[in-house]
C-alpha cells in the first residue's frame, strides 16, 4: 500500500518551504553568527556532492559492483587529503582573482574567450543529464512511495520551486565579494537531513529488519559468497577508475567548485573540511550495505536503487519512508540549485555578456546583469526538465551520474596545467578538451541514443565502459593538451596568469596600464556605461586608497589589478581584461617591464601565513631590516636606476614633510620644493657628500648634510630591477643652533674671564686714586681753593665709587659659578624675598612705589641664601627702575609640582619681543649709558640655573613678568 500522492506533494512543498525560511532567516541575520560562520556549516555544505545518485543509487551500485561504490567517496577523500596541494592553491586563486566558476578559472589561466566558451559549453552538455537525473530520482521515489506514476506536472512544480529558491537565495549578489549565506546554510541543512535520514534508515535495517547487528552479520555470512562478492571488484578495472573520477570530481564538478571555493568565506574552514567532509561521507555511506542486505533479505522486487524506500514500506513504517523521501529530496534539490548557480555564472560570463557587450553599451547594467543571471538559472533548470521529458533513459542512477563525472574529469589536464605547468597554453587546453569531449560523446552519449551500440563489445575489449571511457578520454585529452601546448607559445596573458597561479612564482611583469585614472574611467564607460564606470572606479579607488588624480605607475598598476579583480567577479576574467585594455591610447600605455617592488611586498604580506621555516625566518629578517631603515633617525631615500623613489623612511618624512605615499615611485624632480631640486641636484652631482646645505622649509631656515652611495648590481632583484642610489639626509639645524649657542657661551665666558682680570687690575689703582682724591683737600693750603678742591675730590670719589661698583659686579659675575660649588642648605625663600624687598626699599627710588608680597610661609629650597637674595634684589631692583611712580609691584609665590614659582610683576613698559632673547646676556642693558652694568639679570640667571631652577620672562599684558622657578627642598616636596 502506497502513500497518498497529494500528501507526498504537500510534504515535499512544506519541506522546500522550510528551506526558504531557513535561508531567509539566515539572510536576515536571525541565526547565531557562531553557527553561521562555523567550519561545520561549510563542511556540511560540501555535502552537496551527495546527490540522489549517492542517496539512492549507491545501493544500486553496491548491488552490481560491490564495494566499488565506495570509491566514489574514497577518491574525493584522497583529493581532500591532498587539499594543501590541490584545493588550497585553487581557493587562493579563486579568492584573489574573484574567479566564480570553473570556466572563469580556466579562462583566467588559458586566456581568451574560446576557453571560457568551450568549458561552459561542455559543462552544460555534461551536467544537463545529471540535472535531469535529479528530477527523475524525485519522481521515481514518489512513484515507489505512492505506487502511482506521478504526472510530469509534479516534476514541473518541483523544478519551479527549485528555480525560485535558486533565484531568491543564489542570485542575490552579483559579485563574489558578498557570499550567499542563506544558500550555504540551506545546503548545509539539507546535507544534515540526508545524513540523518540515511543513518536512521540504516539503523532501521539493522534493528528492525534483522533485529540486531549480530543477526545481520550471521545472515550475511550464511549467504554463500555474498560478502566476498562485495570485495571482489577491488581487483577489477572499475576500482581505480571510480577512484580517479571521484578524485577529479572534488574540484571539476561545477557544484563542488561553487561550494568549496566560490562560497568559502574563510580559508581556514577548508582545514576543517579536509577531515570533516570525508567523515560526513563515511557516515553517510555506512548504512548502504545494511540497506542492501535488508533489501535482499526482504526479497524486494524493485530496482536496488530504491531498496531504502521499499524496505520501509514493506515493514509499514510510513514515517521513515517520508523521512527517507525528504533526504532524497534534499539531495536532488541541493544539487540542482548549486549546479544551476554555477552553470548560470559560466553562461553569463562566457555566453551572454560577451555577446551583449559587443553589441551596445547597456543601460542600468547591474539590474540587467542580475535579471540576466536569473533568466539563465530558469533556462538551465528548464533545459534539465526538458531533458528529463524528452530523453527516456533506461540507465540506472549511478550510470547517469558517472557520465557527468567522466565529462567533468576532462578538465583535469587543464587544472593540472594551471597548478603545475607554466608552459601550458590555450591551444593545448582547447585541443585536449575537444579531443576528450569528442571521445566522451562517442563512447557515452551515442550509446544512450542508440541502444544497439555497445563500445566495449564494438572494440572487443575485456573491460567495463567506465574504465574504457575514462582511460580513452583522459589519454587523448592529456596527449593533445601536452602536444598542443608544446607546439604553441604561451601568450603574455598566459605567462602572467601562470605566474599568478603559483604563489611562489616570480611576479608577473607584463601588465599594460593606463596613464591616469581618467583613462580607466573612460574605458569602463565605453564598455559598461557611466553608472558602472563611476561605481566600479569609486570602489576600486576606495579599496586601494588611491587618489583619483594619481599618475604614478606603481599606483596605477595596483588600481589596474583591483579593477581587473572586481570586474572578473562581475563579468569573468576574459571580459575584464578586454575592457581594461580599451583605454584610449592603450598602445601608448605604460608597459611595466620590471616587477614592482610594492607589489612584491604586498604579495609577501599576503603569503606570510603560509611561510614556514627558512622562508619565514628570511621574511622576518627582511621585515626587521625594513624596520631598521624605517626607524633610522636619519633620512634615507633610495632611488632605482630609472630614478624612481623606492625607500622614503620616517625620518625623511619628518624632515621634509613629504609622506612616503606621496614620494613613492616619483622621481626626485617631482618632489615639491625645496627638497625635490635639492636632492635631484645632489643625486646628479659628482660629490658623494655635501655639507651644511642651507635651505628654507616650514618657515624656518634648515641646514642639512647629504651623503650618497651607488647601489651595486648585486643588490638588484632577480628579475632585473632596482640598482640605483641611496641618499642619506642629516638634519643639522638643531646641531648648528646648539653649536652657535656653545660658541656664544664660550665668548661670554671669555668676556667674563677678561672682566675679572680687568676688575682685578683696575681695583688696585682705583684704591690709590680714591686715597689720593680723599686726601687732596687736606693737601691744599689755600683755604679759598679748598671748597672747590673738596667738591672736585667728592666728584672723583663718586666716580671712583661707581667704578668700584662696576668692578664688584664684574667680580661677582665672574665668580658666580665658583660660588655655586659651595654646598647648599635649606633656604626659606619667603624670608629671602622679604629681606630683599626691605633692602631695595632703602633706596630713594622706591619711595613712591607700592610693593605687595604674596608668598607662602616657610618655603624651603636647597641653595645659597645670599645668592638667592641677590637674585631677588636684582629682580626687584629692575622692577623698581622700570615702574612708574605710584605703581604697584607684585611678588607672588606659588607651589607647582614640587617647584616654587616666584613671579615679579611690574607695571612698566615691558620687554620688547625683539630683545627678549638677549636680556640675560652679560652687559646687555636698556638703561642709559652709565646707569647700568648689564650684569644684574645675567648674574641672576646664572645663580638660578646653578640652583637647578629657571629664570624667564613670562607673558604679561602690562609691564614685565619675571618668573623664577626653583625645585623645593625634599621634605617640602
Amino acid at each position: 500500500m502506497g502513500i497518498d500522492l497529494g500528501f507526498l506533494f504537500f510534504i515535499a512543498l512544506s519541506y522546500l518551504g522550510l528551506l526558504f525560511i531557513i535561508a531567509w532567516c539566515t539572510e536576515r541575520g536571525w541565526l547565531p553568527d557562531r553557527l553561521l560562520h562555523s567550519p561545520l556549516v561549510y563542511s556540511l555544505s560540501l555535502g552537496v556532492y551527495a546527490t540522489s545518485w549517492t542517496y539512492y543509487g549507491s545501493v544500486g551500485l553496491a548491488d552490481t559492483s560491490g564495494y566499488a561504490f565506495l570509491n566514489i567517496y574514497l577518491g574525493l577523500t584522497s583529493a581532500f587529503i591532498l587539499g594543501p596541494y590541490l584545493l588550497r592553491p585553487l581557493l587562493r586563486l579563486c579568492r584573489e582573482h574573484q574567479l566564480t566558476s570553473l570556466a572563469d578559472l580556466l579562462a583566467f589561466r588559458y586566456g581568451g574567450r574560446a576557453t571560457g566558451f568551450a568549458v561552459t559549453l561542455f559543462m552544460l552538455f555534461g551536467i544537463l543529464p545529471y540535472i535531469s537525473l535529479q528530477i527523475r530520482a524525485v519522481t521515481e521515489s514518489i512513484q515507489v512511495l505512492s505506487q502511482r506514476v506521478p504526472s510530469n506536472m509534479l516534476a514541473l512544480a518541483f523544478c519551479g520551486v527549485i528555480t525560485v529558491f535558486a533565484i531568491l537565495f543564489g542570485a542575490r549578489h552579483l559579485t563574489p565579494r558578498e557570499k550567499h549565506h542563506g544558500l550555504v546554510v540551506a545546503i548545509a541543512f539539507e546535507s544534515a537531513v540526508k545524513l540523518i535520514a540515511m543513518v536512521v534508515a540504516g539503523l532501521f535495517a539493522v534493528t528492525q529488519v534483522f533485529e540486531s547487528p549480530m543477526a545481520m552479520s550471521r545472515w550475511a555470512d550464511n549467504q554463500p559468497g555474498m560478502v566476498a562478492e562485495l570485495y571482489a571488484p577491488a581487483t577489477s578495472g572499475l576500482w581505480p577508475t571510480l577512484l580517479l573520477l571521484s578524485f577529479c570530481a572534488a574540484f571539476t564538478l561545477p557544484r563542488q567548485y561553487h561550494m568549496t571555493f566560490t562560497e568559502n568565506e574563510n580559508p581556514k574552514h577548508l582545514n576543517t573540511a579536509y577531515w570533516l567532509f570525508p567523515l560526513y561521507l563515511l557516515i553517510l555511506n555506512l548504512p548502504i550495505i545494511p540497506i542492501l542486505f535488508a533489501g535482499r533479505y526482504l526479497s524486494l522486487s524493485m530496482d536496488a536503487d530504491f531498496y531504502v524506500l521499499g524496505m520501509t514500506l514493506t515493514l509499514g513504517r510510513e514515517w521513515l519512508a517520508i523521512l527517507v523521501f525528504l533526504g532524497g529530496l534534499s539531495a536532488a534539490s541541493a544539487m540542482m540549485i548549486v549546479t544551476t548557480l554555477a552553470l548560470s555564472s559560466m553562461c553569463m560570463n562566457h555566453f551572454l555578456l560577451p555577446a551583449a557587450l559587443s553589441v551596445n553599451r547597456p543601460r542600468d547594467f547591474y539590474r540587467r546583469l542580475l535579471w540576466g543571471r536569473r533568466l539563465v538559472i530558469s533556462a538551465i533548470i528548464a533545459a534539465g526538465y526538458g531533458f528529463y521529458i524528452v530523453i527516456e533513459l533506461q540507465e540506472g542512477l549511478a550510470s547517469l551520474g558517472l557520465i557527468s563525472f567522466v565529462a567533468a574529469a576532462q578538465l583535469l589536464p587543464g587544472i593540472i596545467g594551471l597548478l603545475f605547468w607554466a608552459r601550458a597554453t590555450q591551444v593545448g587546453f582547447i585541443a585536449g578538451l575537444s579531443g576528450g569531449a569528442f571521445v566522451w560523446f562517442f563512447l557515452l552519449i551515442v550509446p544512450l541514443m542508440l541502444n544497439s551500440f555497445d563500445p566495449v563489445r564494438w572494440l572487443a575489449l575485456d573491460t567495463d565502459i567506465w574504465t574504457l571511457t575514462t582511460t580513452a578520454t583522459l589519454s587523448i585529452n592529456g596527449l593533445l593538451f601536452i602536444v598542443g601546448s608544446l607546439l604553441s607559445r604561451p601568450t603574455e596573458d598566459e605567462i602572467a596568469a601562470s605566474q599568478a597561479s603559483n604563489e611562489y612564482a616570480e611576479l608577473a611583469s607584463g601588465a599594460t596600464i593606463a596613464r591616469s585614472v581618467i583613462h580607466y574611467r573612460y574605458a569602463l564607460r565605453q564598455a559598461l556605461g557611466s553608472e558602472v564606470a563611476r561605481d566600479e572606479l569609486a570602489r576600486a579607488l576606495q579599496e586601494t586608497g588611491i587618489d583619483k588624480k594619481e599618475t604614478r605607475r606603481s599606483e596605477l598598476r595596483v588600481l589596474h589589478e583591483r579593477l581587473e579583480r572586481n570586474l572578473t567577479g562581475l563579468l569573468g576574467p576574459t571580459l575584464a581584461r578586454e575592457i581594461l585594455r580599451r583605454q584610449p591610447g592603450s598602445h601608448e600605455g605604460l608597459l611595466s617591464n620590471t616587477p614592482d617592488a610594492r607589489m612584491l611586498e604586498r604579495r609577501l604580506h599576503t603569503s606570510r601565513e603560509q611561510m614556514r621555516g627558512l622562508t619565514k625566518q628570511l621574511d622576518d629578517l627582511r621585515q626587521y631590516l625594513q624596520d631598521v631603515l624605517r626607524q633610522l633617525p636619519l633620512g634615507v631615500c633610495s632611488i632605482s636606476a630609472d630614478g624612481q623613489i623606492y625607500i622614503w623612511n620616517s625620518a625623511m618624512q619628518t624632515l621634509t614633510g613629504i609622506v612616503e605615499r606621496d614620494a613613492y615611485d616619483k622621481t626626485l624632480e617631482q618632489l615639491e620644493a625645496p627638497w625635490g631640486p635639492l636632492l635631484a641636484d645632489f643625486a646628479r652631482s659628482s660629490d658623494d657628500h655635501q655639507f651644511r646645505l642651507k635651505t628654507f622649509h616650514g618657515g624656518r631656515p634648515t641646514t642639512v648634510n647629504l651623503h650618497k652611495a651607488d647601489l651595486g648590481a648585486d643588490v638588484g632583484m632577480s628579475a632585473g630591477a632596482l640598482p640605483g642610489q641611496v641618499i642619506l639626509m642629516e638634519d643639522r639645524t638643531d646641531l648648528d643652533k646648539l653649536e652657535a649657542e656653545l660658541a656664544h657661551n664660550e665668548r661670554l665666558a671669555s668676556i667674563g674671564r677678561l672682566a675679572a682680570g680687568v676688575a682685578h687690575e683696575i681695583g688696585n689703582p682705583l684704591t690709590g686714586i680714591a686715597s689720593i682724591a680723599q686726601n687732596l683737600p687736606d693737601d691744599i693750603e689755600d683755604s679759598e681753593q679748598r671748597p672747590l678742591i673738596q667738591e672736585q675730590s667728592d666728584d672723583i670719589l663718586s666716580q671712583v665709587a661707581r667704578i668700584n661698583s662696576i668692578v664688584k659686579s664684574l667680580l661677582t659675575f665672574s665668580h658666580a659659578d665658583a660660588v655655586a660649588q659651595t654646598p647648599y642648605e635649606p633656604v626659606d625663600v619667603s624670608q629671602r624675598v622679604r629681606e630683599a624687598v626691605r633692602l631695595v626699599s632703602l633706596s630713594p627710588d622706591t619711595r613712591d612705589l607700592n610693593i605687595e608680597i604674596d608668598m607662602p610661609d616657610s618655603v624651603l629650597v636647597n641653595g645659597d641664601a645670599n645668592l638667592l637674595m641677590q637674585v631677588f634684589v636684582n629682580l626687584i631692583n629692575n622692577a623698581c627702575h622700570a615702574s612708574p611712580a605710584g605703581s604697584t609691584i607684585n611678588i607672588r609665590g606659588t607651589l607647582q609640582d614640587n617647584m616654587l614659582v616666584v613671579e615679579t610683576i611690574d607695571q612698566g613698559s615691558g620687554v620688547p619681543a625683539e630683545i627678549r632673547d638677549h636680556v640675560f646676556e652679560p652687559f646687555f642693558t636698556t638703561k642709559p649709558v652709565g646707569q647700568g652694568t648689564g650684569l644684574g639679570l645675567s648674574l641672576a640667571y646664572s645663580i638660578v640655573a646653578n640652583h637647578n631652577g629657571r629664570l624667564r620672562i613670562g607673558d604679561s599684558e602690562v609691564g614685565t613678568r619675571m618668573i623664577v622657578t626653583l625645585p623645593l627642598h625634599a621634605t617640602d616636596s
Binding site: S78, I81, Y231, A234, L282, T615
Partner: protein, 66 residues
C-alpha cells in the same frame, strides 16, 4: 624539499598510505580474505583520523609560530 611543503608533508604521506591501502597490489591480498562487511570502512576511518590529527598539529604549529 622546499620549505613551503613542510606543513603538508604529512598530507602527502597520508595520501600515499591511503593509496597503498586502497589501490595498490595489496588489494589483491585483502580482497581474497574473508572479511566482515564493515572492514572496508576501517581504513577509511583511519585515514580520516590521521588527516584530522595532522590538521590539528599544523594548527598548533601555526598558532605557536604566530
Amino acid at each position: 624539499m622546499n620549505q613551503r611543503h613542510q606543513p603538508t608533508d604529512h598530507s602527502l604521506l597520508i595520501f600515499l598510505l591511503a593509496l597503498f591501502l586502497v589501490n595498490s597490489p595489496l588489494k589483491q591480498w585483502w580482497s581474497g580474505l574473508t572479511l566482515p562487511w564493515y572492514a572496508m570502512y576501517l581504513p577509511w576511518l583511519l585515514i580520516i583520523v590521521l588527516v584530522a590529527v595532522n590538521q590539528h598539529l599544523q594548527k598548533r604549529k601555526t598558532d605557536r609560530g604566530n
